[in-house]
């Protein structure tokens, strides 16, 4: 079998001379720096791990730490011998009908992101939303969630949200604002709105569209610009029309991604992930093959069966060659192209070429052409007319020039942050300075807001009425699940209503009235149903209009930078997106899928590029492009394309909040335009400074240990259980101890490494379900992050271009758990159902269990991590899970609170718990359905059937811990030619 263990792959490596000299016997490479022991790297050998100097002090001086201290003082000197303080009971005066104290309620609403909607179900506990789940009835969610949806619950309670209306530097009132708007209306009645400027993010809200039309009728000359800093590129200018590709991966056997991170990014990511993983679930059945051509490693690249790293310009040439190869049938000289072309030819109509949202138009055009010639259109991909804007829009450049021409007297900015997004070259701030009346509506009084005359706090989507379209055009409603935390907060539709309605209406009226007109006959019933389902009932998503075949002109002579130049590419950050989530601590501390980096963005480069630049991870370099320059820490990333630097947007915030401010650098400054995703990099030189980067995983290789079992599809077909047989140390058969009997239930979990795409949704879901605290950069840097489920990432093969693997690791709930034996107080013991209970209130914090846990899944509250200083954050806490105090060990419990509530329901009905009745938080969030939980005493349960598969194996099973969580081996599907 061809599977490379890191060890053997190292043997195959051309090692630098220094290494060969002192290489006694087989060498592991611990980290890139060690691997590339050239003189300029040796000083940094130890840099695999954090430096000593920084670890000397405990960082008490740092900002976040002080916060913790304040809290821990409150607990100092706590003893167990104190009697409990007298508690009060405060019942309702008039109990709302639907609320039964102690019972959660679920409401359907829609999370909107970059103008598109994803349906969610919100769990509320006595009126406070505590958890987000996916909405199975919503076409863009299908019951799954991504990190942004999960984390949005924390955004609601963010203490840094703006809370009052502000005029100039003074707090103002709703009435004052209404009067002011009234005055502006009169002013613009005269100039027909010529001086009225409206700047928003992308939106597909039908209600808003209707409002805008009415606004336009009233002020025909108003100019409206809507932009997204992370908007997908479309091939409009080439194809002559704005074609929106909609992919159906369930039909695709060959998937070619032209630098498209379709598994993680974009409004359809959940749908695509579900379809993609469905065709990888059962190697025996049909199994797709994924080709990825990309510059910066993405999770899509990590899942690829064949991955080629190319810098942005090369992606274009690659596509052109491929197009040529397919069109003229002339196989180029490059083996890759030939190989790929063959594969595509053999799967006509069953393959799909996906152009990355952030690729230039030409790539999209060529992708369209390829799909056309290969007959994929109609089967694996359909092109639909993109949403038409309700009223004519102004492009951003025109908008800014218009502003500069002093035409503006009123500027309303909502859901956009141009001051942060646009580089100073745009001169947006002086343009704004000239505006006589500027209004900002937003969750935060941010960089742009603070420059406006008025700031109006925007209402969070969980507080507001509204509607939005899914990527496939399905409309769905937004309904508030909690009264606005801050009474001044209003939604955009309510602000527009001030301009178009007399008297102005509340959000509910506005939305209700719009749908009154557009809903099916029986409005009240349909309305109820729509709210209940979360999808507007009685409306089928608009039929996709198959676009006429358009012949693509030969790719226009793109002004490609010549191959020697250094290129820079921009991407929205996988955790804070374009910056809108920058103040969300869960996301800031979320280890990025491939770097495992938290609390920072970096300039990512390949090892070769780093050598040529003479820098290493942590060195700060000054990047210059488009006449701007930023200082960014370098991050050497295996599998990154040579000759290019990739940076992510969303960082370097100055006026967002305590969490976001001063973290990272603003890469957006280097963009020549908001549509520029890659461009030439003028200069990149080391500043000599260094920055500590808090990564949660320092080690790259598996050290030849059998942690992730991998086999190729071909091997699997010949012998399905091959993976187990090749284990270096197989688990022992015999056990010293008589087995315990698990009578009623035996809970267990199965994680499919084949379908898991490493998207992190489970991590955030777990964090929000189990009240897991955020610890801050300093603590992560020390190695004290608290995530109960982590996704281990390993590289296999050559450091320059390795294979990448993900492995979600939770508490394995070992039947013979090493942690239990060593706990001196019995704070972690086994239940009659095989759960490895963690009893926080018994724990004294010896940390012995953590030492003795081979999986290192236990997390310890080294300090008072649970935030006691921000009252609003307490509202998010899940009341069914204890909030852990300082000095207590904690870990994954299989969401025991969900098990118990399911048990209680079942027991009340005197029936056993049904299979699938208990869904753990991670399982619920997973878009790939990689995690399955259930009762292995029931042979018919899903988890039992999965564990019966030949691919099933236990992590470190040779230690005889009998883990209840087991994995399904990874199967890759490389083409036989390679």
């Amino acid at each position: 079998m061809l599977r490379l263990s890191p060890l053997s792959s190292m043997k195959s490596l051309p090692l630098p001379p220094q290494v060969q000299i002192d290489a006694g016997g087989p060498r592991f490479w611990k980290s890139l720096e060690e691997w590339s022991q050239s003189p300029d790297f040796l000083p940094y050998l130890h840099r695999e791990f954090p430096e000593y100097a920084s670890a000397w002090d405990n960082g008490m001086s740092r900002r976040r730490f002080l916060k913790l201290m304040a809290a821990s003082f409150a607990l100092a000197g706590l003893t167990s011998c104190s009697r409990q303080p007298q508690e009060k009971i405060v019942p309702y005066v008039r109990r709302p009908e639907e609320i039964i104290p102690g019972k959660p309620l679920y409401y359907a609403t829609t999370f909107s992101h970059r103008g598109y909607g994803k349906g969610v179900l919100v769990r509320t506990e006595m009126g406070r939303p505590t958890k987000i789940e996916g909405n199975p009835d919503h076409p863009a969610s299908l019951g799954a969630t991504d990190v942004f949806m999960q984390a949005s619950i924390l955004g609601l309670y963010d203490p840094d949200r703006s809370q009052t209306i502000r005029q100039g530097n003074d707090i103002s009132t709703r009435d004052a604002f209404t009067q002011f708007v009234g005055a502006r209306i009169e002013a613009h009645e005269q100039d027909q709105g010529a001086g009225l400027f409206l700047l928003t993010g992308k939106t597909t809200s039908p209600t808003l569209a209707d409002q805008l039309q009415r606004l336009h009728e009233r002020f025909p000359k108003l100019s409206w610009c809507s932009y997204e800093p992370a908007a997908p590129v479309r091939a409009q200018s080439i194809l002559g029309h704005d074609a929106e590709p909609v992919y159906d991966l369930s039909k695709a056997d060959i998937i070619v991604s032209l630098d498209a991170d379709f598994l993680l990014d974009g409004p359809a990511n959940l749908v695509l992930t579900k379809a993609f993983s469905k065709k990888r679930r059962d190697p025996a059945a049909d199994f797709n093959r994924l080709y990825v051509i990309e510059s910066a490693p993405s999770i899509t690249g990590a899942k690829a069966d064949v991955r080629w790293r190319r810098k942005p310009s090369e992606v274009i040439t690659f596509t052109q060659q491929l197009a040529a190869a397919i069109a003229q049938g002339v196989a180029g000289d490059s083996p890759e192209i030939r190989q790929l072309a063959n594969d595509l030819q053999q799967h006509r109509g069953r393959g799909v070429i996906i152009a990355g949202d952030y690729q230039p138009e030409v790539v999209h055009a060529l992708a369209f052409q390829l799909n056309q010639t290969l007959g994929n259109i109609g089967s694996t991909v359909t092109y639909q007319e993109a949403q038409q804007t309700p009223i004519p829009t102004t492009s951003l450049p025109d908008f800014v020039t218009a502003l500069k021409r002093r035409a503006a007297s009123t500027l309303l900015i909502a859901g956009a942050n141009p001051i942060y997004d646009l580089s100073p070259a745009w001169g947006f701030s002086n343009a704004m300075a000239r505006v006589t009346h500027s209004i900002h509506l937003g969750l935060y009084d941010d960089e742009t807001g603070s420059r406006c005359h008025w700031h109006v706090p925007g209402s969070h989507y969980l507080e507001a009425w509204g509607d939005i379209l899914a990527i496939d055009g399905t409309p769905s409603l937004l309904q508030p699940v909690i009264e606005p935390l801050y009474p001044d907060a209003v939604s955009l539709v309510e602000v527009i209503s001030l301009l178009v309605d007399l008297p102005p209406k509340k959000g509910y009226e506005i939305v209700r009235e719009f749908w009154q007109r557009s809903l099916a006959a029986d409005v009240p019933a349909a309305w109820e149903l729509s709210l209940n389902k979360g999808v507007v009932a009685g409306l089928s998503p608009q039929a996709l209009s198959p676009t006429p075949v358009v012949s693509v002109r030969d790719a226009p002579p793109e002004d490609l930078p010549n191959s020697s130049d250094l290129e820079i590419l921009f991407r929205p950050d996988t955790a804070v997106d374009d910056g809108r989530f920058a103040n969300n601590a869960w996301l800031q501390e979320l280890p990025r899928p491939l770097t495992k980096l938290t609390w920072d963005n970096v300039a990512m480069i390949s090892l070769a590029t780093a050598k040529s630049m003479g820098v290493t991870t942590g060195d700060v370099v000054r990047l210059e492009a488009a006449g701007q320059s930023v200082d960014a820490p370098v991050w050497i990333q295996p599998g990154h394309a040579d000759g290019c630097v990739s940076v992510t947007l969303g960082y370097g915030r100055s006026q967002l909040g305590e969490v976001a401010n001063g973290v990272g650098f603003n890469a957006g400054l280097l963009r020549s335009s908001v549509a520029a995703w890659s461009q030439a990099l003028t200069r990149a030189q080391a500043t000599g400074a260094r920055l500590e980067l808090a990564s949660t995983q320092h080690h790259f290789s598996m050290e030849g240990r059998d942690l992730i079992q991998i086999e190729t599809l071909a091997d699997y077909k010949t012998d399905p259980s091959q993976a187990q047989e090749n284990q270096p140390n197989p688990p022992p058969e015999e056990n010293l101890y008589p087995p315990f009997a698990y009578k009623d239930y035996a809970w267990a979990m199965s994680i499919d490494l084949n379908t898991c795409v490493g998207c992190n949704a489970c991590v955030v879901a777990c964090q929000s379900e189990n009240n897991i605290p955020v610890v801050g950069k300093d603590q992560v840097f020390k190695g004290r992050e608290m995530h109960w489920i982590r996704i281990d990432r390993y590289f296999e093969g050559e450091p320059e271009d390795p294979a990448m693997h993900f492995q979600p690791v939770t508490c394995m709930q070992c039947e013979d758990a090493p942690c239990e034996v060593v706990c001196p107080v019995g704070a972690t013991v086994h239940t009659s159902e095989g759960l490895n209970d963690m009893v926080y209130n018994r724990c004294v914090g010896t940390r012995y269990c953590s030492n003795n846990c081979p999986y290192k899944v236990r997390r310890f509250n080294f300090l008072e991590y649970s935030d006691a200083t921000h009252p609003t954050l307490a509202l998010q806490k899940n009341p069914d899970v204890t909030v852990r105090s300082r000095g207590v060990m904690e870990k994954c419990t299989y969401c025991v609170q969900r098990i118990e509530s399911a048990r209680i329901d079942a027991q009340k009905e005197m029936r056993p718990i049904r299979d699938g009745e208990i869904v753990t938080a991670c399982q619920a969030a997973c878009p790939a359905d990689a995690i399955v939980f259930g009762n292995i005493n029931d042979p018919a349960s899903r988890v039992s059937r999965l564990k019966a598969l030949p691919r099933n194996y236990g992590l470190l099973a040779d230690l005889n811990t009998h883990p209840r969580t087991t994995y399904l081996a990874k199967v890759t599907n490389p083409p036989t030619a390679i």
Binding site: Q86, Y92, V93, I100, S832, L835, T882
Partner: protein
């Protein structure tokens, strides 16, 4: 000259040594008792409430069902404290102007909740669920005592972990016919088998009852 210590010292020495012994033993034992005393557990301690509500009168003399006020006891973890409206359903008719009920009327009028002092208190890390106990036939009076005889509500049992375990290990003696759950004066039948049969037919997972996660999550 006289020797260092006169003979009397020996007596004192013996007394001191004895004293130390007594102090050690007695001190330990009295702390043991203190932990189980009402001072610590609040058993039988009455608290003054905004309104001197009498279960004796309402549940006992008037015979109002527990669920009339504690509505969610059979469906939710939380038994449910009656909202002011519930009080007013009757007291808008009877005892309309009783000065004793002034706080209730004010609460209703001003829409401000009545703040009761909690009598039966569980630590935050204990997840007690009323509904499952009710549905398995553990009666109110088993834990809360004869509230129908309490003019002012007090804590009837010490509610220590040991007390919880005593029943979680042997639930049988505390089971009743489901019809008798809300019956205050229920007494356990002599025949132990009745309890056992109930435990079986209600499919009570006895093993699970002593699992930590049954109560601590």
């Amino acid at each position: 000259m006289a020797q260092l210590f006169p003979p009397s010292v020996d007596l004192y020495a013996k007394i001191v040594i004895l004293g130390i012994g007594v102090f050690l033993v007695g001190g330990t034992y009295s702390f043991y008792l203190l932990n189980r005393s009402p001072y610590w557990t609040n058993v039988g301690v009455t608290l003054d409430q905004p309104v001197p509500f009498s279960h004796q009168h309402h549940a006992g003399e008037l015979g109002i069902d527990c669920r009339f006020c504690h509505a969610s006891v059979a469906t939710s973890s939380y038994a449910g404290m009656p909202d002011t409206q519930t009080c007013m359903t009757c007291h808008s008719q009877i005892w309309k102007d009783a000065p004793m009920l002034e706080p209730v009327r004010r609460s209703y009028a001003e829409n401000k909740p009545i703040k009761w002092n909690r009598v039966n208190e569980m630590p935050g890390y204990v997840y007690f669920n009323h509904s499952i106990h009710i549905n398995k036939g553990v009666g109110c009076s088993s834990c809360h005592g004869r509230v129908d005889e309490m003019p002012i509500t007090w804590k009837a049992t010490d509610m220590t972990m040991g007390w919880c375990l005593s029943c979680h290990r042997h639930p049988e003696p505390n089971l009743r016919p489901l019809s008798a759950v809300y019956q205050m004066d229920w007494t356990t039948p002599k025949d132990p088998h009745t309890g056992q049969t109930w435990a079986v037919e209600r499919n009570i997972q006895k093993d699970h009852l002593t699992d930590c996660s049954a109560c601590h999550r």
